[in-house]
Subunit: 224 residues, 2 copies
DNA sequence: ACCTGAACACCGTTCAAGT
DNA sequence: ACCTGAACACCGTTCAAGT
């Protein structure tokens, strides 16, 4: 019969690393990497800037945790046979970085973080299932992971540009225009390719690269 | 017969973009990315911080110019047949980033810079010489460039770690130790691979990845 | 144990003033 | 035209002080 029970709502939101990371992700997604400051984060969490340091060592740990959070979720639902599994992992990462460009930058900044290890493990394990020779597995896994991260970082950077200047097809057209300005004598290949850029599908091209690597791995395996 | 000609030595070193970029490269190489500030740069050039802005728009342009400077030199001396030329370009970039880790980070940050275009052109042109079908050239070139940049960024990050903690083999051993601590049930592949890490050769592994891609490109070409 | 918020040291960048 | 250096706005991080 206590009428004045815990009417104070008990701030269900006592600060925690998890809540901090979630708020950081919201800021990163909505306003980009530059907008994530401890002051902005503290304001959003309605606390002092210093409070965050009780739960998180520094900004680097915050970004690492945010990246692990995103990638960790992805890695759960990659399925299918070994080859398709590798494609699924790759596409999962690609789409995650499309949705959260800052993840791409962070992955290539901090190679020892858990997210990287998960990617490496899930690719490597599937290569084993694919029957790749023991001695070749490490190199093959590295190649796939390097490729995935390289594409990820590039896409993150391009997304950053698009964020600044309009939509995707507009910014592709802008890039094509810049390419066309390069000296044709010095850059013949780029000139030949530039017109195809606006119609070009990042995601399909990314997958094509994965398939090239898988084809190379298969070719080496059968001794071609 | 003017005795007091220009005895003032005429500071042969009037500020210029080129001198600024060179000084920036020296700081980046010697003390890392964090050490490059406009104040440090001004001090080294014996001028005011603001003077630099007369020659360079901002820090981003400075890093872009420094990166273009390094990569531009590399691209001149890649030689050999088309396949070997691609390997030479790749190894040139790898070694450049080994010597200047900050280049690796910068390349994946600014994909539209001249250095990237040169890499793309020199890889793409050689694919054409290799006889890769028109429609497959763009994807193949992208795959190679993504891979090269991904490996570059990872190596840059690892070099940053080594710079902090001792030499390369020591830091590889450190990484192997961290890998061994991961849960073996969740990370069986990493556990199998960890012991091979200390004896492992970054550069050879990087080249192995290039060869996988070239093998894949060849396989697709002959329709396998 | 956890939070507050002022303070510190340090940035990139600008700009009035000099030559 | 080019340089100087103080000033501005803004960081990450620390820490004495509170509850």
């Amino acid at each position: 019969m206590t009428k004045k029970t815990q009417r104070t709502e008990r701030r269900s939101d006592a600060l925690s690393k998890e809540r901090i990371v979630e708020a950081a992700i919201e800021i990163l997604d909505a306003e980009g990497e530059n907008a994530l400051t401890f002051r902005a984060l503290a304001a959003r969490l309605a606390t002092g800037a210093g409070a965050i340091y009780w739960h998180v060592a520094d900004k680097s740990e915050l970004l690492t945790a945010a990246t692990d959070h995103i990638i960790g979720r992805i890695m759960l639902d990659a399925d299918g046979g070994p080859e398709d599994g590798i494609r699924a992992v790759a596409i999962g990462i690609f789409d995650a970085i499309d949705a959260h460009p800052w993840v791409g930058a962070q992955l290539s900044r901090e190679p020892q973080q858990l997210a990287m290890m998960q990617i490496f493990e899930s690719v490597g394990g599937r290569l084993q299932a694919l029957g790749v020779a023991e001695g070749a597995q490490f190199d093959a896994a590295s190649a796939l992971v390097y490729y995935i991260l390289g594409a990820a970082a590039q896409n993150a950077a391009n997304a950053r540009l698009s964020l600044a200047g309009g939509d995707r097809s507009a910014s592709l057209a802008g890039i094509a225009a810049r390419w066309a300005q390069l000296d044709p004598a010095r850059f013949p290949f780029i000139h030949k390719v530039a017109p195809h850029l606006p119609e070009h599908d990042d995601r399909a091209q990314f997958l094509a690269g994965i398939d090239l690597l898988l084809a190379g791995i298969a070719a080496v395996q059968r001794g071609t």
